[in-house]
Symmetry: D3
Subunit: 159 residues, 6 copies
C-alpha cells in the first residue's frame, strides 16, 4: 500500500492541481493533499481559507485526504508514513526549482521518493500566481479554477 503526499501552498487551488491529484488517485492507494503553512510569505488566502477551498474539491473522494502541515516536507512524510512526494511539472521554468527541491529532499531523506506528473497541456500556462493576478485585475478565471475558488476570489476582490 503506497501513500503519496501532494504538497503545495494552494493560494488558491486551480484546475491544474485538481487534474493531477485526480490522476494520482488512479495510481496510488492513498493521496494526501498537504496544504503548506507558510507563515512568512505574502499570501492572498489564509491557511484556513486555502485548506477549506482544497477540501471542498475532494470531499466525496475517500482515498484523497486533505491536511495542513508545516516544517520540512520530508519530516511530515515520515510522520504520516508517506513513501512518495508527488509534484506536477509544467513545461515552464519550475522544472529547475522542482529539481533542486527533489535533490534537497533526497539528500535529507533518501528513503522518500519524489515522483513528477507532467501537467496536461490544457493547464500548462496555469499557476496560482497567474490566477491571482488575473482575478484581482477583474479578468475572467472561470476556466481556470473550480466554482468555489471563483466565488472566493470575487469575495476577496470586493473586500
Amino acid at each position: 500500500m503506497i501513500k503519496a503526499l501532494f504538497p503545495a501552498s494552494f493560494d488558491p487551488i486551480h484546475n491544474g492541481h485538481i487534474d493531477i491529484i485526480n490522476r494520482a488517485a488512479q495510481i496510488f492507494d492513498e493521496v494526501v493533499v498537504g496544504v503548506y503553512d507558510l507563515p512568512d510569505k505574502d499570501l492572498l488566502f489564509s491557511l484556513d481559507e486555502r485548506f477549506k477551498l482544497v477540501q471542498e474539491c475532494f470531499n466525496d473522494r475517500s482515498m484523497i485526504t486533505v491536511v495542513t502541515y508545516s516544517g520540512l516536507t520530508v519530516d511530515y512524510c515520515r510522520e504520516i508514513n508517506a513513501k512518495v512526494i508527488l509534484r506536477g511539472l509544467r513545461v515552464f521554468s519550475d522544472f529547475e526549482y522542482e529539481f533542486r527541491l527533489a535533490l534537497s529532499n533526497s539528500e535529507l531523506a533518501p528513503d522518500i521518493e519524489t515522483l513528477s506528473f507532467i501537467t496536461n497541456k490544457e493547464h500548462s500556462f496555469l499557476s496560482s500566481s497567474t490566477v491571482r493576478e488575473i482575478a484581482l485585475l477583474g479578468g475572467d478565471v472561470s476556466g481556470m479554477v473550480p466554482d468555489n475558488v471563483l466565488k472566493a476570489l470575487k469575495d476577496k476582490r470586493n473586500s
Copy 2:
C-alpha cells in the same frame, strides 16, 4: 496492483538506469524494463546484446522483468496492461524531449500515465551516449556502468 514500464534503448544500460529501476521497484508492484527495438538508428549494441546486458543486471529480482518491444510505447503498455510509463529526468536538456514525449503519449493514450523520477545527482551527467563516447576513446567508465557492460564495451572496442 500497478505494473509500470520503464522504456529505453539501453545502448548500453548504465548506473543511472539501474538506480532508477531499483527505486521504482520499491514503489510499484511490477516493473517491466522495456528494451526498445529501433531498427533505423545507428546503435553500438544489437537488440540481443542490449537485452542480455540489461537482463544480467536484474536476474535475481522477481518483480523486475526485462523484455524487448517495438512499435508505439503506449500500444505496448496496453498489450501488457501497464498503467504507468516511468522515465528518469536528468537536469540536462532531456526535459524538453521528455515533456514532448509525455504529452504525445497522453494524446494517444489518456489512460496511461507518465511518471518521472529525478536522476540522482551522482548520475546527473551520465547518459548512454557519454558512456559510448568515453569508452570508445579508451577512457575509464568503470564508475559509470556495471561490470558486465564494462566488459562488453572493451570487447566492442577491441573487435
Copy 3:
C-alpha cells in the same frame, strides 16, 4: 501593405502550422507560405509532395499564397519584397534555434524583421518530426494533421 513570409520545410504540414498561418492572415496583408527546398536533408516527403499538401490547405484563401524556394531565406524575402519573416514559437527548445536564426538573418539583412507567434497550447507538443514518428509506427495522428496529410501518411506507410 505588408507582405510576410512563413518559411518551413513542412515535412509534413500539421495543425500547428495551419493555425499560425491563419492567425497571420488576420494581421498581414499577404502571407506567403514558403516550402523550403532542402536537397541534403533526409525527408519523408519530396518537395513536390510537401508543396501540394500545403497548397491544398489554403487553396480557397486569396491572401495566402504557397511557393517553394531555396537558398537564403532573406534573399528570397528581398526577391518577393517581403518585409517580415514569420515564425511560430513552441514552448519547447526551438526557441534557441529560432533566436539564433533571427539574429543571423538580422545580421545578413537588417531591413527584414522576424516576428514570432506563440504556438497555441493545443499544438504545443506538435512538430513535423513527432507526426512522422507516430504515424510511421501506426499511431493515430488524426487530431494533429489535416485530412489530406493523414491520407498521404497512410500511403507513405503502406508503400
Copy 4:
C-alpha cells in the same frame, strides 16, 4: 489598418525598448506605447516620471503614441481597438514569462494576437533592472539609455 500595443512598466525606458518600438513602427500602422500603472510594485520612477521619459523619446513620431493604462492588458487593447500586443524577447529567461503571459492573454482574448520581436544582440543583456542596479551604484549607463533617462537617473541618485 493594424494598431499594435507595446506594453511595459518602463522603469526606466532603455535603448532596447526604443529599438523595438522603432522597428515596430516600420511594420504596423500605429504603435501605442503603453506605460503600465503598477500600484503595488516597488518602482524607482513614478507613473508620471516613467510616462514623461517615454514620451520624450518619441515626441516627433506621428505614428507612435504614448499612453498610461492600468488593469488587464487585453481589456485595454479592446478599449483602444488594438489587435496586436507587441513584446521584445531577449535570449535570457524572460521567454518563459513571456510565453505564459501570451498564453494567458490568448485564453482571455483569443482575438488579440501577441507578436514578439527578437531583441537585437546589442541590447540582449539590457533590462530596466540592470540599468537601475548599475546606475544606483554609480556605474556608467550612458550606452544603455537615452540622454533624458541618464539625467533622470543622476537626479534620482543625488536626491
Copy 5:
C-alpha cells in the same frame, strides 16, 4: 601574476563555495574572496557575521584573502588590481543571471574578464537560500556547510 576576485553575498558560505575557492587557488596566484555588502537586501547574517564565517574557512591559506566590499564589482576589481572575476556555475537556472552579469560587467569594464568554474555535481543542488530554508525549518544541513556555519545557523534559529 594573476589576482582573481570571487564575489558573493555568502549568506552563509557553503561547501560549494569552499570547493570552488580551493580549486581557484590551484590556478590563480591570489584569490580574493569578496563578501558583498548589500544594504537593501533581506539577509539572515549581517555583513560582519558573513565576513567572519568566510574568513574562518580560509584563515590558514596564504594566497586566499577575505575582504568586504560595496559598490560596483568592476570598480572594486580595479581598486585591488584584480584582472579576473570568478564565478561558479550550477546547472540550475543561475546561468542566465550569470550571463547577464558577465555581459554587463564586460560592458562596464572590457579589461576585466569573468571566468566560470562548473560546480561539482556533489554541490549542484546547493545554494545559500536552500541552506537557509532547510536550516530554519530544523533540517540537517551538516553535509552542506562547514562546522562554524552549522553552529551559527543553530544559534540564529534559537535566537
Copy 6:
C-alpha cells in the same frame, strides 16, 4: 606557470573563437589551441585544412600554439601538462552540452579544471555550423570569420 588548452573542431574557426583565444592569452601563460581530429564526423574541412586555417590566425603570437590531437581531451591535457581546459559559453543551448562535458572530464581527471569564458555579445549568435550554412548558400559571412577562412569557404563552395 599555467598552460591552458582550448579544444574545438574548428570547422572552420570564426571570430568568436579568435576573440576568446586572445582574451585567454591575456590571463594564462600559454594557450594551446587544440584542433580535434574527429574521424567519424561529417566535416566541411579536413583536419589539415582546419589546422592550417587556425594556425594562420595566430602565427605571430608566441604564447599561443596550435596543435592537432585525438583521443580523450583529458588524456591530451596530461600529455602536454595543461592544467586547464578552456571553453567559450554562448548564451544559447550549448550550456547543457558544456556542463555535461565538464562534469565528465572532472570525473575522468579531477586534477584538470574546466574554465569557461562568456562569449562576447557580438558573437553570441555565431557558431561554425551557422557559418557553414550561410556560406554554402552564398550568404555573406565576411563579418563572422577572418579573411583566410572567407577565402577557404569560397573555394569550397566553388569546388
